[in-house]
């Protein structure tokens, strides 16, 4: 008798908890609709200018990188928008010569956050370097900012750029702040 009662109570407890776990989410309010952002009209291009150079032929494999092949060098410049890579520079980089990512897809109205990674390597590693970032809309500058690299980490910076639904009149470009 005791054992039957014990099993009955055990089944009740376990069953009750399982039932609760299975159904507790049912009465939650539905998730709010995802925040909608509209694709911004226009053609977008990003230009980066560095004070350091880089040559793929002389690039050493980067021991602290996880990207790609174990022997592949780390690109000196990388840009992400909304988690998508829009630039990974693997060709020769010359100081003062701009590098361009044209026809950028996925620029939305409102704030767009670009993640910029610049890594001076070899003889340039560790020294302070500047990286100028410019965003163009239909070939007109929309934003112009300059950043400095920090020691061995280089530069890892998010750049938030506001894009309005309608292009501004020429000469109204946003300035660095």
């Amino acid at each position: 008798m005791r054992i039957v009662l014990a099993i009955a109570i055990w089944a009740l407890c376990v069953g009750g908890v399982r039932l609760y776990l299975a159904h507790r989410d049912e009465n939650r309010p539905a998730a709010p609709p995802a925040f909608e952002r509209r694709e911004a009209p226009g053609a977008y291009a990003l230009e980066l200018t560095t004070t350091f150079g880089w040559r793929p032929q002389s690039a050493e494999p980067d021991p602290f990188s996880l990207s790609g092949e174990p022997e592949a060098p780390t690109p000196p410049l990388r840009v992400q928008l909304d988690g998508r890579e829009i630039l990974a520079w693997t060709r020769e980089l010359k100081p003062g010569e701009p590098v361009r990512a044209a026809d950028i897809q996925g620029v939305k109205t409102g704030k767009n956050e670009f993640f910029i990674r610049a890594l001076p390597q070899g003889e340039h590693a560790g020294a302070r370097h500047a990286v100028r970032v410019r965003l163009f809309r239909d070939e007109r500058p929309l934003a112009d900012r300059t950043f400095w690299t920090e020691g061995a980490l280089g530069l890892a910076e998010t750049v938030s750029i506001e894009v309005e639904p309608e292009p501004r009149a020429p000469g109204e470009a946003e300035h660095a702040h």
């Binding site: 014990a6 055990w10 908890v17 021991p63 996880l66 560790g126 020691g151």
Partner: protein, 293 residues
Amino acid sequence: MWRNLPFLVLAACLALVPARAAEKKLIVCSTTQVADFTRQVVGDRARVACILAPGADPHLYEPKPGDAKLVQQCDLVIQNGLGLEGKNWMANLAQDAGKPVVAATAGVKPLVLDEHGATHDDPHAWFDPVNAAVYVKNILESVSKLDPDHAEEFAARAKLYLQHLRVLDAWIKEQFNAIPKEQRILVTSHDAFNYFCQAYGFRNQAPAGWTTEGEITPEQRQKVVASIASFGVKSIFVETSVNPKTIQDIARDAGVKVGGELYSDSMGPAGSAGEEYLGMMRENVLTILHALK
């Protein structure tokens, strides 16, 4: 009957608890360094157990009955490899329990030591942060195979930790720049610091050779005393996992200071600055810098 009721309810509730905890994989590591790197990659997604206690010597370790039991329950064994685990104790434990075993040093370019005509791969590879990155990548690969559902998360942690290693490496180079190259001589109990010395431009002298097994001969000791005098070394160092007596005797004979204690084959106990790899390396660098500058 009813007085038993609260216990029955409690027992029933407890029966539900292990179902959740059991979802976590158990990874057993041989050394404190390997366990730290593994924790940095898996975070709280897996349980990481370390066989060696802080301060224990991996060369001379004799497995205890509890170790075999732990390995029986685990899903993966990660060891240093390159012969650090004396008489292959970690791989043997894994083999006896039928568990997969991974060497964190796979792919490291080993330094080869020549001792009395016999050559060995030097197992102390973690002392170069570039090799530490290899450990982390090997661990990432093996835990991602073990738990593919969380592979992306493991990679994100590994990526962050590799950046820590990059900064550590650059910081060490910057610090040692303060010691003139000809003064960069590291005398330690046993030959654990070859990778460290190679990475940061030091010359290495250790009376005990690459393993802590066996006593050092009076000739070996005399050789070290003589080289300390000829190079004008200011300080020599004891290690956390090795008996300090030999080094203390050599310091007395050579008329130099003991510059401090270095974390070597084992990291520090919980709560110490050396309980994690980054802290252990930082403290070693500052100890050496303080003694040799």
